[in-house]
Symmetry: C2
Subunit: 412 residues, 2 copies
């Protein structure tokens, strides 16, 4: 180990979130987080939705510590512990000749870590913050510790933090193969296509407020596995074929098939939730209205214009085949779910706001950073986020992005 | 045929509605109305929810005519035609010596009918009015025409009007066996137990208003059969065992099993609706709140206090094991869903209002007949109906109940 005691080495990374188009719901192994079926997701543009994580190591740190969105959180849970253990097991030698620092493989056991993580979207909005979070943690640590594994191998580690996190190790379209091995080493993510393959797609997210605290996906899927008589049938007899069809639709950029499969699989996932005892309701009346809006439109045109999918919450993720249809979608959405009178359009449509002008809405200039969401009211859309398929994790080399102080290793 | 041309012979009957505790959803034969699984229902007390139908025959009538709730409706649909044809095929000789009227079997082909029907509850409230309606039509005609068939045989005719109507030919608990024959003659209802067998049960219905026009159950179940990948699994692999368990629970008055099966089957039916393309939402946020209220209560007590079930609409039908629990249920319901400030409790709790006093609510005296429901507002309970398991169809001999004029055969 280096003589100089007070050095801090750190890495900052940015990782996207993802939304499943073939859903993951149900584990066959709770501890290892092994799913009962394959799933497929699209990675969302990290410019609009991402996690940034800085990981630091220093001989001055006397225990592992983590801060999420500026607040210290415990690392004692098994999910964090599993990720840290797996990454430490794979750590390599690290040398910074310029700073005269050398960390050998064996040193990592004794060194402690500081971790700071930040989501550029509200954690509570139900936008899979844990997926991006664990993916970013594992990715950043792998860079810091010089772990010599490919992204799929890393995904199997991130999976042990949060199942869907494994799909955030890649851009574009990603498949999480459930695997067969008992130890879970073959339950990992692979990239189906990168984000350039189908770059016409536009994604609009409606963040829907809800009065009720939702069932966590962890306990929800456990209860579904234990009580739903439909879940096993879905996992065994429905999903395998859908996964093949979805891979084909993505490969061929066949939007009609893609939309049909995406909507059907979202609805089936929520059907299984309803078949759980006690039943789980993630969608509310606003979610239903959003679905009806799209279904009516799709039906009137005779072919799918827009796909929708809902995760474990009332938010709608809507996918349009191109900019032109996305503009029409946004117009319909703003017509049916207008902002409250005192709400500025700039705080009602977030992300890629350029679409606002195309949709004929004034006052979309002078866009600042992501503002805080307006106060939520039950059964309404809080705001929209316009985005697109995006890239996988990257290291942010510019030190200004670091969330930890390079001298002290404490949150800036 | 009798010489005197202007006679009118008529029969008035009252038939209960029913609520399924193991659901019917999906036909294997659309024309004959043959289901894909058995179903089980409880008949509701006709004092609170029923249809009254008067059927009349006269040589003076020149075509079949029907009035529903005072408005003439068409009899040309195949559902009415099938019922009328099947009943006419089984008509017998009728003689009224006192009036000097004799109708022979063969005469029925040429004679025309007047039918007037009335529901003692709002038709639009989604309380299975068609079930009671077709059951009452078939039952009343069978009496008028001296049809020599037992109630199960009549149920197979009523089934051709509306599937669930077959279960309204009996009181108590009723099973509709799906049958195997292609012609549907073995798809009929049988009584499991009469209404006295489990007469502690108390049933409270929450009539929930909804903004959206609901998908009719006929088209909804057709779409489920065509598009849901879960429905066949439910019909083939889930329901058969549930039916056996439910029969056992009813026989033993085992409320815990009864409640568990009732809730699970209602939720699974709605799950299949959600798995349909496009998805069908019958329950809304108010329905979800009612379920959560009961699930929380059941969980806190460690055993089912109350069962709930929802048909093709947002109304909750809640079943309590006895009066004591029903009083607690009503208290909880009125606490969570209070009447609007200008609403009298007497127009907010209908049916068996005596329970209101037990629940400690004043002003429940001076109860009149069923008032019209208060104006509906989305996402709220419009009113409650307190009732219990009830008897099957009866003939109302008192002429004051007749809905047709005994001289003219026209609506009174």
């Amino acid at each position: 180990m280096a003589e100089k005691k007070q050095w801090v080495v750190m890495v900052t990374a940015q990782t996207p979130t993802n939304i499943a188009v073939i859903k993951y719901w149900g584990k066959r192994d709770e501890a290892r987080i092994l799913p009962i079926n394959d799933s497929i997701s699209v990675t969302l543009d990290p410019d609009h939705l991402c996690t940034v994580t800085t990981v630091a190591v220093s001989p001055a740190f006397d225990h592992d510590q983590m801060w999420l969105n500026g607040k210290e959180i415990s690392l004692s849970g098994s999910r964090y512990q599993n990720c840290l253990r797996e990454i430490r097991n794979r750590a390599g030698d690290v040398e910074d000749k310029e700073k005269g620092i050398k960390i050998e493989k064996k040193d990592w056991e004794k060194l402690h870590l500081h971790i700071a993580s930040y989501n550029n979207f509200p954690t509570a909005a139900g936008l899979a913050s844990s997926a991006a979070g664990f993916a970013c943690l594992v990715f950043a640590l792998s860079k810091l510790m010089n772990v010599n594994e490919d992204p799929s191998q890393l995904s199997a580690i991130a999976r042990q933090g949060s199942g869907s996190a494994c799909r955030s190790l890649f851009g574009g379209f990603v498949k999480w193969t459930m695997g067969n091995k008992e130890d879970g080493t073959d339950s990992l993510a692979v990239q189906l296509t990168d984000e350039k393959h189908w770059n016409d797609l536009v994604i609009i997210i409606a963040v829907v407020s809800s009065r009720q605290k939702e069932t966590s996906s962890t306990s929800g899927m456990r209860e579904s596995v234990e009580t739903s008589l439909l879940l096993q049938h879905r996992a065994r007899d429905v999903v395998p074929q859908r996964v093949l069809q979805m891979e084909e639709a993505i490969k061929n950029r066949d939007f009609a098939s893609f939309a049909q499969l995406t909507c059907a699989d979202s609805n089936q996932f929520h059907a299984v939730c309803l078949d759980t005892s006690p039943p789980i309701f993630y969608m509310n009346d606003t979610s239903h209205r959003l679905i009806s809006l799209i279904e009516k439109w799709n039906r009137s045109e005779g072919s799918p214009q827009v796909a929708y999918t809902f995760d474990a919450g009332p938010n709608a993720v809507m996918i349009a085949p191109n900019r032109k249809v996305a503009v029409q979608l946004l117009q319909k959405l703003l017509f049916c779910f207008p902002p409250k009178p005192d709400t500025d359009m700039n705080s009602y449509v977030l992300g890629d706001k350029s679409i606002l002008q195309e949709a004929g809405f004034e006052g979309a200039n002078g866009v600042e950073g992501l503002p805080h969401p307006p106060e939520m009211k039950e059964g309404e859309v809080s705001y929209f986020i316009c985005t697109r398929p995006g890239r996988g994790p990257i290291v942010l080399h510019d030190q200004t992005h670091a969330l930890l102080d390079p001298e002290t290793g404490l949150p800036k």
